[in-house]
Symmetry: C2
Subunit: 237 residues, 2 copies
Amino acid sequence: MAAKRSSAQSNRSQRKNVSLQSVQEPHGDPPLSLDRIVATAVELLDAEGVDGLKMRRLADRLGAGAMSLYWHVDNKEEVFDLALDAVLEYRGPLQADEPEDWRSDVVHLLQDWRASMLRHPWSASLLSRRALGPNILNRLELLGKILSRAGVADADLNVAIWSLWNYVMGATITRASFGLSDDDQAAAQQRLTRLSEHYPTIERSRLLLDSDWDGTFRKGLDFLLDGLSPGQNSGSR
Amino acid sequence: MAAKRSSAQSNRSQRKNVSLQSVQEPHGDPPLSLDRIVATAVELLDAEGVDGLKMRRLADRLGAGAMSLYWHVDNKEEVFDLALDAVLEYRGPLQADEPEDWRSDVVHLLQDWRASMLRHPWSASLLSRRALGPNILNRLELLGKILSRAGVADADLNVAIWSLWNYVMGATITRASFGLSDDDQAAAQQRLTRLSEHYPTIERSRLLLDSDWDGTFRKGLDFLLDGLSPGQNSGSR
DNA sequence: AATTTAATCGTACAGCGTACGAGTCAATCT
DNA sequence: AGATTGACTCGTACGCTGTACGATTAAATT
């Protein structure tokens, strides 16, 4: 009889066991595990994008049957969530000794997020598609903690968190939507040039052509941080 | 023989003809038209979200066969594009008489975009999903035109356009991802309260609970506009 | 009257996520 | 030792999707 249980909690607890048991078979058919599934999912997402991740193809890459995945994972959505979580980890410095350096902490954190999302462009569009859950909240909490420790008043924390988060999300999503076909860099550049021709202001500002994305991102971020600097604006409005 | 032509250009030219010919039948089976298709698609998207728009369901609502849509439209993607375009029209004031009022022009424009996207939450996530095309460029051009006319130097235009666009996109996408299940407002509030409990900083800042979304949006926007104000920063860096 | 064009729809197909149940193998318990 | 259990894998099957194709009809044009 032996029907499968998948309460999404029992699965998680088995992960460690399996991954400890046998990690590096020479090759051939290593056993399935949540870790391996997630890692391969990230690979596949990097290579083929959000629409390229199909359960069957993921199983093929793992050398497993399609339905075997459903023992470790409830459904495809969970694969997305796990892949997101695996990719968006912040491992940078957490707090400068001097509270005055709060800016550099925040900038580091946000630049790191941005870099991670751009390294895996699907993550940005996934983050914007899914309703807010632990994935997002963990990051908001971390950002808030840094801001708070840096001296941002509780009354301003709400605005500070949202402003910065929104800006980073928007900048990353927009930027990510450009590099969709990096296959042919020259052709992409030519396409942008052709597009620009019909939009005088865009062309004049060279908006699409020689955008220094990192620099532009940094400048807008600085404007926000100027406004949010502790002591600059106290109280509410 | 009579195979169908659909060069995506001949279709567009027939739209006006059809829509003029007969707009308001009492009811029953009004003839298909691009206008009717797009309008119904927007309805369906509003009601069911991005994943709720299926060609068959759209055809059902129109009282037509599923395949009839493909005479007016090349594929489903085009339905998305047309719906986006139909929704994101700016009809606000275009330029204040005094160039000093540039801020109010910009704020009006951006708030209008934000309101449109929030009225149709699918639009935000669609905008972020599609590579940049006329949909986005038309809007960037308008924003740039307003900024330029307001006195922003050409050298600063690039940063100004991107900063504002990114901020609006991020704020709207984030906000939109909250109101996904507006069915039960009380339950949603309770869910947020429960979520907040595990995140001290989020809870302390009441990030999820009584966010004044419009006010928060406006404040971050003001910070950006402060930094971008003409005369504030000239040259590049 | 003959022929072309615009428009609609029924059928069909490949691909998707996944429910279901049957199978394997090792550990555990009499 | 024999029986039983639970973890895990996989083949088949189902319903749903977007859409290619061809037949059909109605209107416009010649």
